[in-house]
């Protein structure tokens, strides 16, 4: 049944598949409300069971077990379905700004600019792929290199100004904790830049004296104090993550999304 077909028959098959999907859709909609949650739980469990079993099941000499061959088609299926899901964000953004334009809300002109940018780069991108020539490449680059790349880089660089202001106002010696934070940040900042390192360049980087060079002190803080502290936090995160995964897999997770009646 699952054999490639060509010519006009292909479109018949495709339409047939879509029609079959439509039928499945109405069958699903006919499922009584009380059975919907168990169905969702069953799908979650089976989906999780595949990857869990594939990992735990012993493998043969070729490093594979009976479930391994399905990994490739599943990867392709996931890529396709998740590519469709990326449209969720676009849909959400477009609906907000389309409404703004339709109702001519204050600043609706900016929404028009947003759509102009969206269509400009998407269309020139498609043109570049389907009609590759220097003209299309250059027009695409105008929007990507001139526009997107510079806007993205600038938007996030603005934070530099805010962080200076924040560091200046927040880093005050007020408590033991604040003083430790300040000292650690101060040394790390000093040890990370060439001019800061130059302050102790006269100290030999050998034997016991090397311990007094600022870059070594900064790296010591990062590797010997910061590292185990974050490792301990990471252990907590790991165990919490595994517990959450188990709860999701067994549909034990609670919250507004999971508790809602279907």
């Amino acid at each position: 049944m699952f054999r490639p077909v060509t010519g006009p028959t292909l479109w018949l098959y495709i339409l047939g598949a879509l029609a079959a999907s439509g039928v499945i859709f109405f069958v699903l909609q006919a499922i009584p409300s009380r059975l919907r949650k168990p169905l969702v739980a069953l799908i979650t469990f089976v989906a999780g069971l595949y990857y869990a079993t594939e990992f735990f099941w012993p493998v043969g000499a070729d490093g594979a077990n009976f479930l391994t061959p399905w990994i490739d088609p599943l990867a392709q299926m996931t890529q396709v379905l998740q590519a469709f899901a990326l449209g969720l964000g676009v849909y959400s953004l477009a609906s907000v700004h389309l409404r703004a334009v339709a109702r001519q809300r204050s600043g609706w002109g900016f929404s028009v600019v947003l759509f102009a940018g969206l269509f400009a780069i998407a269309l020139t991108g498609f043109l570049r792929e389907y009609r590759p020539n220097r003209f299309n490449e250059n027009v695409f680059n105008f929007f990507f290199v001139g526009g997107l790349q510079s806007l993205d880089a600038t938007m996030f660089s603005i934070i530099a100004f805010y962080i200076v202001s924040a560091a200046y106002r927040a880093f005050r010696v007020r408590s033991i904790e604040a003083t430790i934070l300040l000292t650690s940040a101060f040394v790390v900042m000093l040890g990370q830049v060439a001019l800061g390192q130059a302050l102790t360049n006269n100290i030999p980087n050998q034997q016991f004296a090397a311990n007094f060079r600022v870059e070594n002190i900064a790296n010591w803080i990062l590797t010997r104090v910061n590292s185990p502290a974050l490792l301990a936090v990471d252990f907590g995160l790991g165990i919490g993550g595994l517990a959450t995964a188990l709860r999701l897999w067994l549909s034990l997770e609670r919250g507004s999304y999971f508790d809602k009646e279907l």
Binding site: D72, T78, Q79, A83, V145, L148, Q149, S165, E215
Partner: protein
């Protein structure tokens, strides 16, 4: 005393102006800055690439150059990409650009490759390939499939050509055919490689994994260096400065070293001034109370 007290409340626009001056001054009036100290994690990054190049078996395998960043961190990530790609090209290693966290990564990686390829005699398809972008939520399933079958898991390159038809992908099948993984990122995308690919090869040794995070993310990666899950790390722009020094290249990173120093000194000075202002205000309040 009044002047000192006022130091604790400098207007934000004055701070912004000071920062703009501190950052742009070295570009307008270049002054030499001492060479940076090269940290152990940068050295081990360099040594790992050299070791891969020196290994007769490994050097014919493929390096994954995972460009999981957008232009937002380009000053760090793009500079890291350029220095690392230079090293790969200098050592004639084959590599694949790939991104699964941000679509811009595949474009930005290609822009750097376009800029460098003539200098090192590299040719698309023969010496390197761009696998393109795959959706973030499909990353784990894709990487798990790559363990045994990269051409099937990825399918086509960014131009729509099937990987099996691309010369550089000849003899590249799965995890055993990977020389190293280099993750250049502005987000938390490293674990996917460590969890689902690094230890899946036939040998006892994990695939060498090198990490180029933004400086914000670097502190969290130090435990992974200690545990041997990472063989080296470049910390943001500073890592790129050190790497340029190791490669003996004077690029943007080296040019930026002075600005990085001046801006840090400005912040340190402002922190000191702010605290002086606070002390002065406290002293003034105490004196006022005593009176």
């Amino acid at each position: 005393m009044g002047f000192l007290v006022r130091l604790q409340d400098i207007d934000r626009r004055v701070l912004y102006l000071l920062l703009a001056v501190a950052v742009s001054f070295p570009f307008l009036f270049p002054a030499p800055v001492p060479d940076p100290a090269i940290l152990p994690q940068t050295q081990s990054f360099f040594r790992t690439v050299e070791a891969v190049s020196a290994d007769p078996v490994r050097r014919d395998k493929l390096v994954i150059l995972s460009c999981n960043f957008s232009s937002s961190t380009s000053a760090e990530s793009l500079t890291q990409t350029e220095t690392v790609m230079r090293h790969l090209m200098k050592n004639k290693l084959k590599f694949a650009i790939f991104s699964f966290n941000d679509p811009q990564g595949r474009e930005l990686g290609q822009l750097i490759a376009n800029r460098l390829q003539d200098e090192y005699g590299y040719q698309y398809g023969r010496d390197y390939v761009n696998w393109g972008f795959r959706p973030p939520a499909a990353a784990v399933n894709t990487v798990k499939a790559m363990v045994r079958n990269i051409p099937e898991a990825i399918g086509t390159d960014a131009n729509g050509t099937r990987l099996v038809e691309i010369p550089v992908m000849r003899n590249i099948r799965g995890a055993n055919d990977l020389a190293a993984i280099i993750e250049i990122t502005g987000s938390n995308s490293l674990p996917v490689w460590l969890q689902y690919l690094q230890r899946t090869g036939a040998g006892a040794e994990p695939i060498p994994t090198l990490y180029c995070p933004t400086a914000v993310m670097a502190p969290e990666a130090f435990p992974l260096l200690k545990s041997g899950q990472l063989q080296g790390m470049l910390t943001g722009l500073k890592g790129a400065i050190e790497y340029e020094a190791l490669l003996n290249v004077r690029g943007f990173a080296t040019r930026a070293s002075a600005s990085l120093s001046y801006s840090h000194f400005l912040i340190l000075a402002l922190i000191v001034l702010g605290n002086l202002g606070t002390f002065a205000a406290r002293a003034q309040a105490r004196r006022g109370g005593a009176r």
